[in-house]
């Protein structure tokens, strides 16, 4: 389908919906930008996006990974959140665990 949902009176240069026909086009605009990706299992990744494909496999540079997990402390009977941070210079991320990707707005 070549038709878009954009109102016909919207100027093509300013209408985002006219440029972005498919969701993946938004990811294309994130190329060469710092992105924030949320993954299954409480993992978050910040890094510069260099490549992606239709499976949402990614290649990121200068990556910071933050893993959040819940830990039960038997002594205090409390559940506490624990975060771990890892850094990678260049990282391939397999797309099947990715949930959300957006521009890094920290």
């Amino acid at each position: 389908m070549a038709t878009t949902m954009a109102p016909s009176n919207a100027p093509a240069s300013t209408s985002l919906t006219a440029v972005l026909n498919k969701p993946i086009e938004l990811v294309r605009l994130l190329l060469d930008e710092r992105v924030h990706a949320k993954m299954a299992g409480g993992r978050e990744i910040y890094g510069k996006l260099h490549a992606f494909d239709q499976h949402m496999n990614l290649v990121l540079e200068d990556v910071e990974e933050i893993v959040t997990s819940l830990e039960y402390d038997a002594a205090t009977k409390q559940v506490a959140e624990r975060t771990e941070t890892h850094r990678y210079e260049m990282l391939f991320v397999r797309g099947d665990v990715l949930v959300v990707i957006c521009a890094d707005n920290r």
Binding site: L31, H50, A51, F52, V59, M90, L91, F92, R94, V97
Partner: protein, 105 residues
């Protein structure tokens, strides 16, 4: 019917990319948290990899792998692959990703 069957992916960007990294040292981080460093010997369309001269980086948690030197890792169990940054042409990658996206749109 589509001209390309849905189960046949288009020529894969990441498959070609990993072929350029053959003979480089990578660290594969699996979904079960095993971290394996080794030389990339081969890769297939599912992004399964074969590694040689491997070393398990968290051997205290996974001692059963210590005597292994060569292994095949199924693509679907891989979470991350840490790459040698010097061997990655980022400009070429971005270009290829942009072209692949526009080609399928």
């Amino acid at each position: 019917m589509r001209s390309t069957p849905h189960h046949l992916p288009p020529p894969q960007l990441f498959y070609s990319f990993f072929k350029t990294l053959i003979d480089h040292e990578v660290i594969v981080i699996c979904k079960n948290d095993v971290r394996i460093r080794g030389k990339l010997i081969s890769v297939d369309q599912y992004l399964s990899v074969k590694l040689q001269d491997i070393q398990v980086l968290n051997a205290e948690r996974f001692p059963q792998m210590q005597s292994t030197t060569t292994c095949f890792i199924r693509g679907s169990v891989i979470r991350y692959i840490e790459l040698p940054a010097a061997a990655v042409d980022t400009a070429l990658l971005q270009d290829a990703a942009r072209k692949a996206c526009l080609a399928q749109a």
